[in-house]
Subunit: 482 residues, 4 copies
């Protein structure tokens, strides 16, 4: 990775790859706005009230064109926003430039080092203060994967006496975080307590990040109320499923230009993300093998006509591997080193630890050849080679441009409503994990129907009474699965 | 409808269409057992313990070959079973005969009148007693649509002074029920209190029946603990979805032999049943229009490529109409009378009131021609005609043989486990609606994997710890939607 | 097989199972007419001209409801028609009855013996004559599989001195034919020369029958002009493909009520019939393995996402086997005897020799149990069992009702146009195999568009000139593959 | 368009965008070779014989990575190759660089002006000569769209006295050609007769180019034998169909990052290209409307479940338009100016005249904004805007990288075998259009099976005899449609 000085330009309160890309970014932002009716409706609805007026919001979420529309929505309803990406490869530099150009502090570029990444995260959560509070933290956090939440909690615990930063790190990234916290402890003593003092909540949109939050609640460590945006139906059943159905193939194509028809594709995991991936690959004419640990999901995959088998059973016949699990060590070095020659390996689950990338890099006799950014060819001693995309990080964001705008409009409408809700209830909510009420979930859906020409049927009052629901919804019991 | 004497044969404690069909039924039962690995595993597992030993169980559930395997499973684990169908058209007469032949009292034939239907229901819940208790009721009920539950509650309320039987009935069927209750009041005074005295619970497997139960809980009327089997994932996401994906077309084909490719098919409702129907019809080359009231389901349909529109917008172009909603008056007489010539109309939702059949029969100028059993052609004054299948009742059961065995094995495994659970917890459970624990849901799935060649992956203990779950499950949070 | 006297009723010049089914048949004929716009248009167009006025036409083609509409179309345009089925199981008895009732001689019932079948064929080609020509033959033949063509040629050759009837037969059916010819030789000396004298042509609609015709041309034996209807695009790319896509599953469902989702289905052959079958099964959620001999078709199957493998590789995992090849010995006794327990085996290709049924019946230790008509269970010595449908004959016609009306309207419009063409050109055509001109093929398609709401675009004259075609078509070069 | 000096680098006998991209190109070539088993097998088979030894071959075909593998295959079997692209936007600059680096003259870069394009074509067909023949032409031509064939014929006719170059041009491009020919006439008198003297044949791979060849044969103008590669099954049913099924969405995604689910997509034309496009878009969840002029193709589209309607009927609801027809004026300015706001318009048919781009540029009140290369936004006077991709040229090549390697291996294996065949039969063939024998077509397929794991079944000799084919094929009659 190059030195910082070369990888970004910064003249104001931002760090982006190339500020001159701002005009191009703005053109794409204009296009995206037409595809994000949910966010545009929210802007209109809250334009006058400005429910987040003056609220300091830190975002840690892939800095793409779609996110730029989210940022400008948050600003439109009053927020004071700072932003970083949540992935070293996912930033679209023209999107970051367009946002920086408007004066919103953004710290993100495609191809950050891990050190740069965490520095950017710190930059994004450091608001300028004054007097005793030279540095202020966010009042609300928009999180994706939970990195900001993690950093604040770890910093706070350090100031409370935790020894975690001195313990041996289990990965390179963990050590980077520890180093950063040690540096902050020196440079900004007491900073994290100041942050926590003002912090009123976080909304989180990934399965993994939400899982972390529930664990923190269980362990009694969570410091603020959190809204689980991931489990809004209009997030998990749309972004995870339909988003990946479009963006996985996009990533594979831009990275490898490979024919998918006729290939054997192995999709590890058949949750919403896996469902989207498996169906997309099959529609291209690939033969898809699904791996699963959960018998219910496995039965679903089988009923949909997929072979369900183990990774081991596919070695030697699998051409493409996609991890979608949110678990670690799904593709081990034992798997990687025995794959069919020219196999393509990528992850769309969440973290890069789904694939044992470190072990691959360290494997005896392996050589690594970079084909182009985010495409590496690993050749084993026996001559077989595999291609690893985006260094094991999200292939749709690393190799393409992430999910398309329309589906993100659903997710980000939930994020925005969650931010409004957190602020409105900042005095009422406890440090627990909340889910948006079904009524709001339905509202998010409703905001997207006109754009795609959907005509809803309206219940008569007799029908509503028969069903025992209101004519205006919500229509389903909480346990309904869609 | 013919007089009772002609429509069934009864030499023992049963009423079936033709006892001589027993051998044919047995052959198909043998085949079905191979396709119902869940039930067969349960038989094996509980063969020795017999957890329902001597328990009186009344079933009110479509008397098909698959149900016959369920009945024999309940008997295998000890129960004393009596059975009726829950639909006047859904009985497979050879299945009923095979069960009757073994000595299990069954009261069901294809094509019952409504009077016969409710008589059969009474027969199924009347166990022979002795002494003061000349007639005993069931200790457990297996219900589908809630008719047994309804009858017991209404009878009990009558004996408590309710005047409901004397109020004007809103439908012919309601009057039939009232007449029956009045007759029982005369013939068996106090009978319903005896029934309720011994009744320990009910398991219910339909969306509609479950909905009724929750309403009774809300109103404080529910007399016994109930298990909501419908919302087991291995029921709602399998039976409702994959079952209908196979059985809707089966019903249409057997009834009409119609080409589905090229037709415009209107699917009212995009819940699990609607999803299965819409996808099935599209796979045949039909152009499917979905109608929905819920914006989330509507958005799902649109993301899957379906046009979402109102029934009104389809009049004149829709060739096939399928109701799947669980609501009433979905296809009104205003719709029916304006449809394209030769349109085919059917219901796979639950009750026949999804289509305004009574209004159709009464419509000015309409003539009705029976083509064959369960297929009626209605010709309007202007010469246009429509075909109504199964008189608006479930088309897959009325015109074909219902869902295939494999998917019913999932549903019925849940039913069986629910019965065992109700009995085991008869002293612990309150008069509320319970859902089977996720662990059992996963178990039901697991029992079906081997048959279809699924190989599950097993978590390592490190992976399980990372996810915060047990290696053996359950694997998902309660709100997970599959 | 029962004696003839029991299997059909005959009061006039017909043999059908039950003439009292005529009314039911007529009701279904009325429905079918609405689904067969091509035939109805032809009736209207030629109603006045009656181009087949007085022409004696023998048909040998599955005696279904759809064929009944064809027969009435031929009669409407003037023909004097006699009919037999071309398959012992494919007759719909109510269709045969409806036709017989109108006075058209028809000789067909479901479940003929082979002796009865060939007797019926002879009946269908024997028109009443007078004087020296006591028996007259047809002037035109509508053939499906070539049985009438075969019989006439063999009879003619016999009268010319061929010894074929005395040679050892390679199958039971061949012996039946030889016996029949020997009987006719005694009863009606010179009959076949009379037949050939008047015979002006045959139209044939199956791949197999057409193949036989080309072989006869090659060998110099063909006696009359023939029109290959099978290779009209509106036949092979519709009936074979889309017909089977609907009727295979219909046959499987009516025979076995089996769940297709999750099953491994093996489709032997990936021609048009195989394509329809494979796609249908996959849409149901089956995992389909295709077997092929032709590398081009195999590559197509693979590009569509199917596993292409040998039958051998599927033994032990295949749940359903479907032959679609038009070849013999595709499923051998070696295959049949090693299949997975409960495997279902059927043929939709053409002849029953795709599966070695004779060898199966003769296999050591096998027992055969009839479950219901057209469904037999064979149990091997080791306890494994397989199900054979329709005794290896066409499963869609044996176990269901064949292709739906709409697709048959395409095929039969081609048949009708071919009959008109053969008669119009009876003096011009040679004893060769002709294909209908592309213009007529397009016309057949055009007749079916309105029914399904298709709006065609019309070329401008500039566009037509640019393409070098006429505004009205034909639009494609002869080698175009659609 | 910039001046030539800026758009390419040339130090040797080549013109490419940036020769420093050669290494990157070579890495991708290495990957592509693994995906092009047909070409690699041909290399191996003919490595020793070198059937094109010393033959001068000019190629005019999209200069992509896949084409680079074709070029190196031709060189491997002995040819002396010069190359240009056949489309101003389709060149992949790293592919061109890699080829140029090896010393093969290539004249192509992404974003040529039309003047540059035709200059490159001339460069590609000008081989260095000596003595009287200072410039030599090719002995064989690999053509895609027929531009080289056109240029040679027009040049030859000019030298024979044609006045065509002086007639008014119907388009800007036609004028460019005329100007070039006039310049060549001055600079290289008699050049075209020298070219024609040595020219032995052309192989052409597009529907449009082939159509032109047949027209030339009809008009008696064709100068050399031609092989129609387009109508090899392994070309038209693979490249056109499966290639577009993968590359259309790729082009749309890279250009617009747009969500396809929920959109209304209009596919003009349902030939092989249209079939691939329509199925791809539907698999993404778009609702596809097909437009067709041919009733047979229209009926196919309807049987596959597509709405078939006119472009006019879609105005205001169509979100995406794709032309696939090979015809001109398919989307007229009347259509373009009435489309829904934000509609995306592109062509994957062949020439840019499918869409009236010139008329759009000239339309009153329209403004054009370039978003990024190959993406232009046209805003109409009323504020509505549409996006035009690749200026109406092939969207898959202009906005993405064309078809994937595997499918191109089929097409290019046909091209290579055609070149070998043309040279081998240079004395036998007449100036007509030939098709490769079916045996070679099957061979091309066979070369691709192992890579994707296909296991073929082999006929027994009895089966082959029954079918009347050889065990080794060819297996199908000429009229078979696959």
């Amino acid at each position: 990775m190059n030195a910082v000085a070369k990888t970004f330009s910064t003249e104001g309160d931002y760090k982006v790859a190339d500020i001159s890309l701002a005009d191009f970014g703005r053109k794409e932002l204009d296009i995206a706005e037409h595809e994000m009716p949910g966010l545009m409706s929210i802007r209109k609805k809250y334009a006058a009230a400005k429910p987040l007026a003056g609220v300091r919001v830190t975002g840690s979420l892939h800095m793409t064109i779609q996110t730029a529309v989210l940022i400008e929505t948050l600003k439109d309803i009053g927020a004071d926003v700072r932003w970083a990406s949540c992935n070293i490869f996912s930033t679209q530099d023209h999107a970051a430039a367009a946002i920086a150009k408007t004066g919103t502090p953004v710290f993100a570029w495609k191809g950050e080092s891990l050190e740069e990444y965490w520095d950017c995260t710190l930059d994004a959560l450091t608001f300028p203060g004054s007097g005793a509070d030279k540095h202020l933290g966010p009042q609300l956090v928009v999180d994706d994967g939970g990195d900001v939440t993690l950093l604040i909690h770890k910093g706070y615990e350090l100031e409370n006496g935790s020894k975690w930063v001195d313990e041996a790190a289990s990965s390179h990234e963990e050590q980077v975080i520890k180093n950063l916290l040690k540096r902050v402890a020196v440079e900004r003593p007491g900073f994290w307590h100041t942050v926590v003092r003002d912090w009123k909540g976080v909304s989180e949109e990934t399965t993994t990040g939400v899982h972390r939050l529930y664990q923190m609640v269980e362990q009694g460590n969570l410091l603020v109320p959190a809204i689980n945006v991931n489990d809004s139906v209009t997030k998990s059943k749309f972004d995870n499923l339909y988003g990946c159905r479009e963006s996985l193939a996009d990533g594979l194509k831009r990275a490898m230009d490979v024919m998918l028809a006729g290939k054997v594709a192995v999709v590890c995991g058949y949750g919403d993300v896996g469902k989207g991936c498996a169906h997309s690959l099959r529609a291209y004419g690939a033969r898809v093998v699904v791996t699963e640990i959960d018998p219910i999901n496995a039965l679903q995959a089988s009923m949909e006509g997929f072979e369900v088998n183990t990774v081991e059973s596919t070695l030697g016949r699998g051409d493409i591997y996609v991890t979608t699990t949110g678990n670690k060590d799904v593709l081990t070095i034992a798997h990687l080193s025995q794959m069919k020659d020219q196999a393509i390996v990528c992850n769309i689950g969440h973290f890069d630890n789904e694939i044992q990338v470190d072990a691959l890099n360290a494997f005896a006799g392996v050589t690594k050849l970079n084909i182009k950014p985010q495409v590496d060819k690993y050749t084993f001693a026996d001559g077989r080679a595999i291609f690893l995309l985006a260094e094991g990080r999200l292939v749709n964001l690393g190799c393409a441009t992430g999910h398309p705008s329309f589906v993100m409009s659903n997710s980000f409408s939930n994020q925005t409503l969650a931010q409004i809700d957190l602020w409105a209830n900042k005095d009422a909510y406890e440090a627990k994990v909340y889910i948006l009420p079904k009524k709001l979930d339905e509202e998010v859906a409703r905001l997207h129907l006109e754009k795609i020409g959907v005509k809803l049927t309206t219940l008569t009052s007799e029908q509503a009474a028969y069903l025992g629901v209101s004519v205006d919804g919500p229509y389903k019991p909480e346990h309904y699965r869609y």
